[in-house]
Each structure stands twice: as C-alpha cells, then as structure tokens.
C-alpha cells in the first residue's frame, strides 16, 4: 500500500464512514469521493493523475467538499463569509485524513492557534491586559465568530435567531430596554468596545470614557441637520474640567440601556 500512513489515520476520521456505508455511494473506495477516479493514478503512480483538493483553486476545492456538506446548517451563508471571498478553502482549516479532533478542532487552545496562524494582528490584541480570556483557554475564537459565515459583519455568531453572539454570555445587556441606547442596536457593541483587547479597563475604543461618548454626543440640533447624524449634545452643566464629569458612566450607569430612566441614570 502506498499511502498506508494516510489510510491508517483515516480510519479514525469521521469520513471513514464513506468507506463503510452504502448511502454515501463510494463504499470501499472512499478516497475517490474527494480525489476523483483513481485508476489512472494507480497505474502511473503520478501525482498529476489524481485530483488533490489542497492544490485546487479554493472555489473548486470547496465545491468538492460542499457537494456533500452544502446541505448543513453551518454552511448557510458560507459563500458570504470573509473566508470564502479570500479564497480560504475548507482544507485550510480542516485536516481531512487525520483524527476527528484534527478534522474539526474542539479544544479551545487548538482552535485559537489555528485562527492565530493567519489572524496575526487579532491574536496580538489578545496579549493586551484587558481582553476576552482566550489565551487562558476559557474561550475560543469560534465562541464569537462563525468561520463559515454569518448574516452579521465579521462573521459574528448569532444567538436566539438574530441577536449578536455577544449576548450569549452578556445576557444582562440583551434587553429590550424601555430606554434604549441607540448605538447598541444600530451599530453593535464595537461602536464603543474593542472586543479583542485594549489598554482600557473596560475594553473601550478610547483611553478615556468621555471621549468615547463625546465623539458622538457632539451634535447641536443645527449641526445634526448638516451632518445628518444621531447623538444629541449633553446638558451644559457638564463641566468637563470637574473630574465628576470626566467619566460619564459615573452617573449614566445604565449606558447599555435603562428600564427606568430616560437619561440612563439608573
């Protein structure tokens, strides 16, 4: 046998059922389900005479996999994902011949290492002091992102049908709130937060709270008319020279949305 090592490893791979079960229509010749007809290759032993998905253009390789796997829920919208448009094919992340764990990694550290292999700067952000606990192994990239694609930008996972995946853990921010803070719904958590890592203790996009708020809340009615953006100006007794007003959420404690107060004070 030429590919004995691959054959042995393949026996522990979920795809081994293709070899054993009639319904996959490649019983006893599972290799051909992905590599195409192999008789010519058997005779010549030349690599040129067999289809190798790892060397195919991503679209073609994916189509090979999706001929069986298209009809599964994880792939709905896959062709909308960043991976698809960047020609990252299935075989870039899934090792087809090896164990179940290598085919679809489940261990968080393994998942994170696989993603970090390409997403270098994102992983670098997780080395900052305030971040989600990925390097500690308490979370993995796929807790928040669906690498196969999503209806939301950046392949963010959805929960409860169409709510952003952030709410899977931060259920207290789900609402609906009686008094909503519009950016949470209109542009999502990343309007104010840097989810991968930040030097700010609450993972904010700016170094001080007031600047996060004032960059949007700087519209007088006249200005809003010309810039056509949302975000009214705060009351004038907010004297920013007083430390009391430099951290807006000292008073606006329910900044994600309030059920009691229109000004998000309680």
């Amino acid at each position: 046998m030429c590919h004995e090592d691959i054959f042995k490893a393949f026996q522990k791979n979920p795809h081994a059922v293709v070899e054993k079960e009639k319904r996959w229509r490649n019983e006893t010749h599972a290799c051909e389900s992905c590599h195409g007809a192999g008789s010519k290759h058997v005779e010549s032993t030349s690599a040129a005479d067999i289809r190798n998905p790892a060397k195919l253009p991503a679209g073609e390789a994916d189509h090979n996999c999706l001929s069986c796997h298209l009809n599964q829920p994880t792939h709905v919208g896959r062709i909308q994902s960043g991976h698809a448009k960047d020609q990252v094919s299935c075989v870039s992340c899934h090792a087809m011949h090896k164990s179940a764990e290598e085919l679809v990694p489940r261990r968080r550290a393994v998942i994170n290492a696989k993603c970090a292999n390409c997403h270098l700067s994102e992983w670098a952000s997780f080395q900052k002091p305030y971040k989600h606990k990925l390097p500690e192994g308490a979370m993995s990239c796929v807790d928040c992102h669906n690498p196969h694609g999503s209806a939301l930008p950046h392949s963010i996972r959805t929960v409860s049908a169409n709510e952003p995946g952030c709410l899977n853990c931060h259920g207290d921010k789900r609402g609906p709130f009686v008094f909503e803070h519009a950016p949470v719904r209109l542009e999502g958590c990343t309007t104010c937060h840097e989810p991968h890592g930040s030097a700010n203790p609450r993972m904010l996009t700016r170094h001080e709270v007031r600047f996060v708020c004032l960059e949007c809340h700087a519209n007088t009615p006249a200005m809003a008319a010309t810039s056509r953006t949302l975000g009214g100006v705060p009351p004038a007794f907010h004297d920013l020279r007083a430390p009391q007003f430099q951290n807006c959420n000292v008073c606006h404690v329910k900044v994600h949305g309030s059920n009691v107060n229109q000004e998000l004070l309680r």
């Binding site: 049908a161 609906p176 542009e187 030097a199 700087a218 953006t229």
Partner: protein, 655 residues
C-alpha cells in the same frame, strides 16, 4: 455543580473498570482484552500546586488582569474513552481545566453513538473582577483613589445540545443554555446635582430552550428551529451609611448627602424565536440559500426606590429629605431578519454570488413613573413615557470571482447598504425623536495568488463613498485594504506576513473625522526534524491608530478636537527544546512569553515572560514546572501598575 462534574469525569473510569481483567498468571500483554483496554481510555490528567508571590504594586489591578492565586489545582483533564462494544456510545470525551480556585473553570463532555446521537455539554465559570480607579473615579482629581464602577462577579454558562440520528436525512435536535451572573460591586446613585458611590448586588439569569429539525437531502437542506428564552434581573443597589457624594459643594447653604438607599430592580423578560435556514443546489451550476430569523423579546419592569438624606429637586430647586419612586414599564422588540441569495457558475472558472439582506428591529416601550417626595410631603409626580427605537437595515451585494488560471483568482464586487434609524431626541434639543439615515456604496476587489503550495498571497480591498451614516464615527468615506502572504521557505520553516490598513473620513465641517489604523504583522515557525529537538514560533505586530474628530465642549459649547493615538509593539515567542544529553525522551525546556508596549494616549507596558520544564518521571508520568512573570505599568496611572510571579509545580499522568 462540582460534584456533578466529578461524576461525569468518573464515567470513563467506571467504564474502564467494567473491562474483564486478565486471568491470574496469564501474560497481560498476551491478553487481547487488556491490550484493548489500554487503547480504549486515553488522555491525561494534570494536577499541580500554584504559588503566587503576591502582587507588588496594585493588587486590585493584578486581580483585574490576571487573578490567579495560590493552591492545589486541577490544571487540565483530557480523557477520551472508546467503547469496544459500541452499544451505548462510540466515544466519550471529557475535558476540564482550572478547577480548585482558578478564575476560569471549564468543563466539556461529548458523547457520540454513530447514527444514534451526538451529545455535547459545555460549562464555563468566568470571574470578572474589575477595580480600576482610572476608569471611573470622580475624586481622582483630589488624589483620592475611590472607584465608583467596580465589580467582583462571576458569569456561569452551560450549554447542552443533543442531536438525534446524526448523518441521517432527518436530524431532530434539542438544546438548552443557561447564562447567569452574580456578585457584588460599586455603582452610583444619582440624585439632582450629586451622585453617590453605593453597594451593588447584580444578579441575572437567562435560560434558552430550543429544538428543531434538520432535513438533509442530497440537493436540499432545511433547518427549522423554534426557541424561547426567559430572563430575570434582580439587581439591588443599597447603602445605609452617610455619603456626601461627588459634589460636596453646599447648595443654598445646605450640604447634600445620602443616608440610606434601597433600589430594587425586578426585571423579567421572555422571548420566542424562529429560525429557518435553507440551502439547495438544484443544478450543478446553481446554489441557492436563504435565512429567515425572527425574535420577539419582551421585558416587564417593576422598580422601586426608597432614599433618605438631603436632596435637591432640580426642576423646583426645593430641598427634600425622603423620596419613594416606583416604576412600571414594559418593552417589546420584534426583530425580523431575512437573507436570500444564489451562487451561479455559468463557466467553470466564473462564479457570481448575489445576496440580499434585510434586518428590521422595532423597539416599542412604555413606562409609568411615580415619584413621591415623602418629606416634606408633596403631591406625587406621575410621568408616563412612550419610547420607540427603529432600525431598518438593508444590504445588497454581488461578488464575481474568476479563476484566471489554477493559481490566480480575481474578485470584484459591489455592496450597497441603506437604512434608517429612529431614536429618542436629545433632552435639550426639544425634539421628540432623532432620525438618521444610512447610505453606503462599497466597491470590492481582491486577488489571490498561489504560486505553489509553499507560497501564496492575497490582496483584499474595500472602498466606500458613503454620504450618510448613523453616527459621527461611523464608516463613511473609507478604504480598507489587506495583504496577506505565506511562504514555506523550507520544510521546517514557515513565514507569514499580514498588513492591514483602514482609513475612514467624515469631511463634514461639523464632524471633521479622520481615522487611520495600520496593523503590520510577521510570523515565523521553525521545527527542524518535525520538532524532534527544537521548535520555535514567534510573531511581531506593529499597530498604529490615529483618530481626530471635532466635538462640542459641553460647558461652553465651543468646538474642540479629540485626538487619540495608539502605537503598539507586540511580540510573542516560544522556544521548546529537548535538553541535550538525555536522549529523545529527556527533559524539555520551554522559554518564551509576550510583551506589549504601547505609547500614545494611554501608554501601557505589559510583559509576560515564561519558562517551563517538563521531566519524564515514570512511563506515562512526567513532572513539570512553570514560572511566569507578569509586569504591568501605566505611566499615566502609576498607582495601577503591578508585578507578580507565579510558580506552578505539577504532575501529568497519561493514560
């Protein structure tokens, strides 16, 4: 919970005990039963003692960033049990980490029986301690480090999922998730012109139940799911000590203060949701897909507040000493999302992907607030609110991908996003509502080049000329580009590089927003002889961010510029090497760590060097030790720096 997890962890061990032992006197190696037993249960258990040196500097910051303590820990558990009979299960995997006092406890169990079921269970308990005076300290200007936004809480998450008949054409499934938070903290109570730091006891829980069926046919798939959630939030904010608040200036000759407070949030919520997913490839050259997602969360609120002290009513400028507030409110948020599209392949090399999406969220709420000043007695003030928030978002995108040859793929596309949003008006504007509009035309382009399996690179570009965005900092006129390359120089040496840039501008003279971020990263992986003796991995990232925007200074309505700068150097590396002179199974030394050094608006240094030594002790047992140092410094907030050593000594037992 822990007892239950121990029980789960014991399942493989119990299963192992049921294997027939080799008869006495018989060569164990010759017994197929025993040989099989050794193969059926695999994995490892890591147990050790961690020693924490204590934090030099701020212990609060150490707890906010790291939070590891001393003690015996179950550092890792990874077991896999294969069933020889495959009667009730084919395989059970059990994993766990961080038990015994660590801030992150995780557990995972999955079990599979081919064609019967697929079961997974995940548990996480994550501690959130955050006590940073620099984040929210209104007294910091006076040199008092008193945090008024601090939390010492835990979030617990559990997920159960059971797929029945996986691999068949009809797959029913059931799932349950639990997410809860509890703990203590400090928050602010706001009254009139003053705010008071008070005790906070947040407690919330969300339960999510769902079930559905997947129909998986050769050319057609549909998933139908129905689910529901329940939510409760019983936060309590209270104090019984006199507190003069953040504004200690007397008002009309009177000192404002809070002497007692009891705020009780009784919030209940529920939701139903539905999900329909569809994919089909009716012909070899056509795929179609669609999603319909609907949720309708609702909230009901029963809030009460009783506070005593000396307060000011801002509208009447009268002082009062006692107040009772009661609020009843409700909110409903129907949310509908639909997406449909197709991929068509008119030629072997050409793919055209078209999709349309719409997302409509309408929040309607009403509230009734009864404010009763008790002393001096006054008439109750009844206020009714009716609020709305509306989001209508639409997106249409077309992508064309063309394989120029087997190595080069070109991509071009166009995306149009439009929508509108409505929210409550600014309090001083006098407007009942504000409306915003979104219109964005985005051009897409890219090229992927695979010179060989060893060398590939891709370029991705996105540029938009939007004329309307919801917020002043929204993407408006922007260009986003990314270049990524990978090169396998030798069998044992792989190099990678990634460059990204985002430039966003809003030229409106009242906004004048300029944003530019760059991320440049390089990586290296070297493992000669398949990593037999030494492996080296490393990456370095240089990231810069520049943001300038005009804003209105609230106290005098003058225009000012907010500038934010962040210049980051980040590097991490790990070298694993076999110590020479002990053979291929000798002790292994790992040295590495990470460093982050930022300058700009909030300079920060964060170092995490580490060293670990693993020494084989006996067959499948090895000793290991790890030393890790944490060094954190913030030049603008020196009092928040810390230094700490962690030393872990443990044993790994392989099965």
């Amino acid at each position: 919970m822990r007892a239950w997890l121990l029980l789960l962890a014991a399942v493989p061990l119990a299963a192992q005990d049921t294997q027939t032992p080799a008869p006495a006197g018989q060569d164990a190696n010759a017994s197929p039963t025993v040989a099989q037993t050794e193969k059926l249960l695999t994995g490892s258990v890591d147990v050790g003692y961690r020693w924490f040196s204590g934090a030099g500097g701020s212990l609060d910051t150490y707890r906010s960033v790291v939070d590891f303590g001393s003690g015996v820990r179950l550092l890792g558990l990874d077991l896999s049990l294969e069933s020889a009979a495959k009667k009730y299960f084919d395989r059970i995997n059990v994993r766990g980490a961080g038990w015994g006092g660590d801030p992150y406890n995780t557990a995972h169990v999955d079990a599979v029986r081919h064609d019967w079921y697929n079961f997974t269970f995940d548990y996480r308990n994550i501690a959130y301690f955050n006590f940073m005076p620099s984040f929210a300290d209104p007294t910091i200007g006076n040199g008092i480090f008193l945090n008024q936004q601090a939390f010492d809480t835990h979030r617990r998450m559990m997920d159960f999922e059971l797929d029945l008949r996986p691999g068949k054409w009809l797959v029913p499934y059931l799932a349950y998730s639990h997410d809860s938070g509890h703990g203590t903290g400090i928050t602010d109570f706001v009254s009139g012109v003053n705010s008071y730091g008070v005790a906070d006891k947040p407690r919330d829980a969300t339960e999510n139940y769902r079930g559905g069926v997947r129909v998986e046919l050769n050319k057609f798939h549909v998933t139908l799911e129905q689910g529901g959630t329940t939510f409760k939030d019983d936060q309590q904010v209270f104090t019984s000590t006199q507190n003069f608040g953040n504004n200690t200036t007397p008002f009309l000759g009177q000192q404002l203060f809070l002497s007692d407070l009891n705020q009780a949030y009784g919030i209940r919520g529920d939701s139903i949701y539905s999900k329909v997913l569809l994919t089909a490839n009716p012909t070899p050259w056509l795929d179609v897909f669609g999603e319909f997602l609907y949720s309708r969360p609702t909230t009901t609120v029963n809030y009460s507040q009783l506070n005593g002290g000396q307060f000011l009513d801002l509208t009447t400028l009268l002082l009062y000493t006692s107040e009772l507030d009661v609020a009843n409110a409700a909110a409903k948020q129907p949310h509908t999302t639909g997406m449909a599209g197709f991929e068509i392949r008119p030629m072997k090399r050409l793919r055209v992907i078209e999709s349309v999406m719409t997302d409509r969220l309408h929040n309607a709420s009403s509230a009734s607030l009864n404010q009763q000043v008790l002393a001096p007695a006054a008439a109750a003030l009844l206020t009714d609110f009716a609020e709305r928030l509306v989001l209508n978002y639409n997106r249409e995108q077309v992508d064309v991908l063309y394989d120029l040859n087997s190595r080069i793929t070109l991509r071009g596309g166009y995306r149009y996003e439009w929508g509108d949003g409505l929210t409550q008006g600014a309090l001083l504007s006098g407007l009942p509502s504000e409306t915003g509009q979104l219109k964005r035309n985005v051009g897409l382009a890219g090229v992927s080049y695979r010179a060989s399996q060893k060398l590939s690179f891709s370029v991705d570009f996105e540029g938009a000329g939007g004329d309307r965005g919801y917020f002043r900092t929204s993407l408006q006129n922007y260009e986003k580009a990314r270049i990524q390359a990978r090169y396998q120089l030798r069998q044992s040496l792989q190099l990678g590089a990634r460059f990204t840039v985002l430039n966003n501008e809003n030229p409106d003279p009242t906004v004048n927003y300029n944003f530019l971020s760059r991320d440049n990263s390089v990586s290296l992986a070297w493992n000669p002889n398949n990593g037999k003796w030494v492996t080296l991995t490393g990456e370095y990232t240089r990231a810069t961010l520049r943001s300038d925007i005009s804003y209105i200074v609230p106290q005098d309505f003058t225009s000012a510029q907010s500038s934010y700068r962040d210049n980051v150097h980040e590097a991490s590396t790990l070298v694993d090497l076999l110590i020479p002179g002990f053979g291929a199974k000798g002790p292994k030394l790992g040295v590495g760590g990470s460093l982050v050094r930022t300058s700009g608006s909030r300079p920060t240094d964060y170092y995490q060097p580490t060293m670990r030594l693993t020494t084989p002790a006996y067959k499948r047992m090895s000793w290991y030790g790890e030393w890790r140092y944490y060094g954190y410094a913030e030049p603008f907030y020196l009092y928040e720096g810390f230094r700490a050593h962690l030393l872990t000594l443990g044993v790994r037992v392989g099965l």
